[in-house]
Symmetry: C2
């Protein structure tokens, strides 16, 4: 068991495992001890909050099973994720169906499996919940006006706070059990102040409901807790302090808190081993080398779209080796399958085809994004240690 989620030994341990096993590349290796340590670190940083792991971040059954054993609850996005969690031993009452976009049949499927927590953000989904999940606990997601995150959500999810107030009052009229409001600051959020605006708006909604005679119980803060990739991120304690201060300021009675971390649980637990397919230049005077890896945007590195996530990279060359600027691309015949051409990266001058390039903190939003067969390349496999 590792002591700390930020241990520099994590990637060393995983790299040693891969050196020993020498699996075909590319592959993701997940250290389940780090998953457990990250979960415990979140619990310790914000003990007043229940943790609902966002399964979408890494839906490997082994990860889910490890978190069931830790006592985690689960934020699920689909009936597929519900069935996955139940198969790994999760109790139905530990599942929250957090996707506000659901078919009536999906709600009925969840309800039949014992799921009793749902999130909505529209009249249509609310009506379906009243019909197909009667009496369930419901939260309404509102659009929070907060500074942008690393991978912002835009306006896809949530409704205006005024509309959330109306919808939650309606939910009570429809016989549903009103939990309260929820929001999400956006994935990979590095500004602890982002939660402040959402908590203030959630408190406004709760007060408005109380005035209508509808008591609320909880506040779901979503996820967004950041991982330090190439850029440092504030520690969990800073986010927890900001959340705690805003709740104390805006709520007279503290609500039950829920958080839905995904990336913060699994990112640092994963390492992708890739192989250099080719190093080339575009002309005989080109200053940059192009480094083509055997993994790209369509086999697991989807979050390099627009170069949102700049992963840390490691090679077996000594750290003091001479290096130079590179453009890094994937192996497909797709012009968009370029990982980094604007973000400056340098790799050793001695790097050659056949060398490994390890991609650190790659446990979140990677393997499950893999395309089934784009360009004839297979999906990213996952190995486990711990």
């Amino acid at each position: 068991m590792l002591d700390s989620l930020s241990s520099p030994d994590v990637s060393t341990r995983l790299r040693a495992f891969l050196d020993d096993r020498a699996p075909a590349t590319p592959c993701l290796v997940m250290d389940l001890d780090v998953v457990r340590a990250n979960y415990r670190a979140l619990r310790a940083a914000l003990p007043e909050a229940a943790v609902f792991y966002a399964v979408k971040a890494n839906p490997a059954p082994e990860v889910v099973a490890a978190l069931v054993a830790e006592g985690s609850a689960f934020d699920v996005a689909s009936t597929g994720e519900i069935d996955l969690c139940l198969a790994q031993g999760a109790a139905p009452e530990s599942l929250s169906y957090g996707n506000p976009i659901k078919k009536p049949a999906d709600i009925a499927h969840a309800f039949a499996r014992g799921v009793r927590r749902f999130t909505f953000d529209s009249d249509g989904d609310l009506a379906n919940l009243a019909e197909h999940a009667p009496g369930s606990r419901v939260s309404c997601r509102f659009l929070v006006d907060a500074p942008a995150s690393g991978t912002p959500f835009g306006r896809k999810f949530g409704c205006a706070p005024q509309m959330a107030l109306r919808l939650l009052a309606r939910a009570a009229d429809l016989g549903l059990d009103v939990d309260g409001a929820c929001f999400h600051v956006g994935s990979q959020h590095t500004d602890p102040a982002a939660w402040t605006a959402g908590i203030a708006q959630a408190a406004w909604i709760a007060r408005g409901l109380a005035e209508c005679g509808v008591p609320t119980r909880s506040l779901n803060l979503g996820g967004g807790f950041p991982t330090a990739y190439r850029t440092p991120a504030p520690p969990l304690a800073a986010h927890a302090a900001a959340i705690r201060a805003a709740v104390a300021e805006h709520f007279d009675t503290a609500p039950e808190l829920l958080i839905e971390p995904g990336r913060a649980v699994v990112a640092t637990a994963g390492l992708i081993r890739s192989e250099v397919v080719l190093v080339s230049r575009k002309s005989d005077t080109d200053e940059h080398r192009w480094v083509y890896l055997d993994i790209g945007r369509y086999s697991g590195l989807a979050e390099t779209e627009n170069e949102y996530i700049a992963y840390r990279l490691r090679t077996a060359h000594p750290v003091e080796s001479p290096d130079g600027p590179v453009i890094i691309a994937g192996p497909t015949c797709d012009g968009d399958d370029v990982l980094y051409q604007h973000t400056p990266y340098r790799l050793p001058t001695a790097l050659r085809a056949g060398d490994h390039v390890d991609i650190l903190d790659a446990g979140a939003y990677t393997a499950s994004y893999s395309s089934v067969s784009f360009n004839g390349f297979p999906p990213l496999p996952t190995l486990f240690v711990g």
Copy 2:
């Protein structure tokens, strides 16, 4: 057998098939008669060119088998695509390994299977070809300076023309069989003039090689022939005329021509049936409706990234139904899973959850891009008619 690839009856026929079978949504249905008709239309438009179907556009075995029967050759991007084509009866000599990014083991695999045509664009790949595919026919891809296409390649593939000249002369020294130069104007190119610059540069390379005593045989024009989505595209005849005129102008002796169409063979042969999951508004005064479908960017509509491809949509509502502006999004909990928020789309005011939305001309670059399980949603299945 359908008479024309632009027949308005294509989507009617596929929609009738889906109405009759009522498969679970989302799904892609491919009309193999239209695949055949598109292949024949390309052959008729440019009879002097050999057609190498770009398998990546739609690698369904049924599509490949239909094209084997038509006598097509195949542009393959990986050993996976090589094995797929051979399994469908393609002759090894009909395969061209067009991806210039290859591991030595992949080259050896291809050579062992009988593949004898390869494309390269770097010193490293050329050296590997000389070692692992001795005596094979090789083309060098150069970077063409042409107007941008609908989904441009950027600079990922190809080298400077001067470097291509050097590399092809080196290829001859290494005992490889020099085919000539190749280029690609970028996928979904709607300007027939795009080919002109590339053909002029290819002729410059061929003359330079002739001066070095290295004769060349062919010119590979790549793909890029456009599909008319919401915006009309010039007919194949216009592209063929531009190609023919440029070859006549720049080459003293006409080279053997090769084309590598993907989209132009399969796009119009496919239709995706989706279902509306939810219609909502973000506030009680929101002018736009949000329409959430059960397919999105991660289950087949990857080419809606940056709204590059604006598909035509059809519903069962009468075409004269009142309509209004919509933002269209996919079903996952991912903020980037939005199909169209900048491109203006209007859908019927009467559209409701449970209604079908059919996505036309969706046979290219869809099913094979599907993620394995993102958010717990399964990959896009394909059905076949014809």
